[in-house]
Subunit: 182 residues, 2 copies
């Protein structure tokens, strides 16, 4: 298992918009706009959720730790913030927007020139309690991977019947949802 | 849930090489060459496995159904075939090779001009028994998604400790392996 490494974190964060663009752009809506059942998301909604996190979650929390440390708890993340993001937008527009806001955030992150000692600074999560800047930054790309994992699962779900007896060999079809947002 | 639709199947199959290319090319080896523990694969090995399937699994089985129906069982898939594919190759070379063999196979598939009645033709799987051409073709992109799902999980595993208390919120970290090859 790897130690957190900021260069590795940024390398992965920088690739997620292109990964989702390659997978989803111009794909038939039977893959991108269907979900796994009531109270679950489609791939289209997941991209909205990722944009919402870029705006109100990751960099705002980085800046809160640098400014206030653990004296002030983060704003709770708004799981429904994606609904504002997707209103009236096509999937192509959301993919463009995700690429733009992610790129802006990575520029802002690089401009902070974080040093090793900064990564040890502590913040206060409203539910999890004390966390470090290093943990927050490591969580960011793993949150991306949680949603790549979710998108592969929800798309595979659309063919659950179509694959016939092969379903037992396909790991992605054995995967139940694992967390409230993934 | 969607009925199997050959155009939708091909649309997804055509995107997987670019998706993995966007995610993995030039990414640090701490993401691409580590696995989840003994007897598990790295992302690099998964790409080798996908190439191996292109060569010896999907289209050869399609052609067997068209030629022999269920009179002759498929060759069992060689789970270790990937070892020949990766020998001495860089990840970049494997990504190029996967794109090439997938593209060749999709050309060959389109040239078959399969009609609705062809999709009902039956074949014989060595372990699963009777299957249809439609089920075989539907399984192909879901096998891709099983491995996208696996890659997101095995990469996330590398930061299992680094994310600290956030691990409980990250669905991908709750996912156990689901099948022998995924």
């Amino acid at each position: 298992m790897a130690q957190h490494n900021l260069q590795d974190t940024v390398a992965l964060l920088a690739r997620t918009p292109a990964t989702l663009n390659s997978l989803l752009r111009d794909l038939p809506e039977s893959w991108t706009h269907r979900n796994e059942g009531p109270d679950t998301w489609s791939a289209y909604e997941v991209v909205g959720h990722l944009i919402s996190g870029e705006r109100s979650d990751w960099m705002p929390r980085v800046k809160m730790i640098l400014e206030f440390g653990d004296a002030k708890a983060f704003e709770p993340f708004d799981r429904w913030g994606y609904q504002r993001e997707i209103q009236g937008k096509s999937l192509g527009q959301l993919l463009d927007e995700f690429a733009r806001v992610r790129s802006d955030n990575l520029t802002e992150l690089r401009d902070l020139n974080l040093r090793t000692e900064d990564l040890k600074r502590r913040g206060q999560h409203p539910a999890l309690g004390p966390v470090t800047l290093s943990e927050l930054l490591a969580t960011w790309p793993i949150h991306d991977l949680t949603h790549v994992h979710q998108i592969s699962r929800l798309m595979a779900h659309q063919y659950r019947e179509s694959v016939g007896p092969w379903s037992q060999y396909l790991g992605v079809l054995q995967c139940a949802g694992h967390s409230s947002s993934a």
